[in-house]
């Protein structure tokens, strides 16, 4: 693979009919490229969690994905409320998800720690009332 693959996705707010579709598409691309199951799984988990957070907490947003021969780089951004205390939000079990969201099975407060665990690099830029951008890198080797 010598050329870079670039994809952009819109992530609509509170729309569970399409939530996870961007992650699913990226998984399909990586799978077709023959990326190993372990890398596939780590990328899927990290991206899905970021995508769902944008749907649930961020009033929707967008995803930008770049795949080259060494890595997959994912940027998920929203213009939602931002995260006031990122260190607290990163803790397993911390969640501000409302009941309607919890009833669907979200709100364990594990999304951010799943991203941290499964991404090789994770960077989060967040500003209250401005939005949140999550940068995820997973290396193929």
């Amino acid at each position: 693979m010598s050329t870079k693959i670039i994809r952009d996705y819109i992530i609509p707010a509170d729309d569970f009919a399409v939530a996870g579709e961007a992650s699913s598409d990226v998984r399909k691309i990586l799978s077709q490229l023959g990326v190993s199951p372990n890398i596939l799984k780590r990328t899927s988990i990290a991206m899905y969690e970021a995508e769902i957070n944008a749907v649930i907490h961020g009033h929707g947003g967008k995803a930008h994905v770049e795949i080259d021969e060494n890595k997959v780089f994912i940027v998920i951004s929203d213009e939602g409320p931002g995260i006031e205390d990122l260190e607290l939000a990163m803790q397993e079990g911390y969640s501000t998800a409302p009941d309607s969201i919890r009833e669907m099975g979200f709100g364990a407060g594990m999304g951010l720690s799943n991203m941290k665990k499964h991404a090789d690099l994770l960077e989060i830029d967040t500003q209250v009332n401005k939005g949140t951008t999550v940068y995820i890198t997973v290396y193929f080797q």
């Binding site: 569970f16 996870g20 699913s24 199951p37 988990i45 364990a108 594990m110 499964h118």
Partner: protein, 114 residues
């Protein structure tokens, strides 16, 4: 054990039109109703038992490559979830037993055969 064996043995209902996937191998069982938790812990090839029946279950099962989703206690599954599962190659089964009973049965069987 294949999905077909599993269905035969325990009489699960197959909610999705999934004949082409019934030769898939089941290598484990996992029960959890917290989606992020399940996402992190599901192993490829697990039968995932959950009471949730919304579309997000399909996304998690497909990304985590679960062998199937099993809905316990005859809980009804929305048609849109079934249709989405069919699109994504996710097999949804349903049974009358509880999550714990279903996992017990599958794990007992798997431990016999390894």
């Amino acid at each position: 054990m294949t999905l077909a064996n599993l269905i035969d043995k325990y009489g699960f209902k197959v909610l999705t039109n999934s004949n082409e996937y019934l030769s898939r191998t089941v290598t484990g069982a996992y029960a959890c109703d917290l989606l992020s938790h399940a996402m992190a812990k599901l192993n490829m090839g697990d039968a995932w038992v959950t009471v949730h029946t919304n579309l997000n279950v399909v996304a998690v099962a497909s990304l985590a490559e679960a062998a199937c989703v099993i809905i316990p206690e005859d809980i009804e599954v929305e048609q849109q979830t079934i249709s989405r599962a069919e699109e994504k190659g996710v097999v949804i089964l349903s049974g009358s037993a509880s999550s714990a009973e279903i996992c017990y049965e599958i794990l007992s069987e798997l431990r016999k055969t390894v």
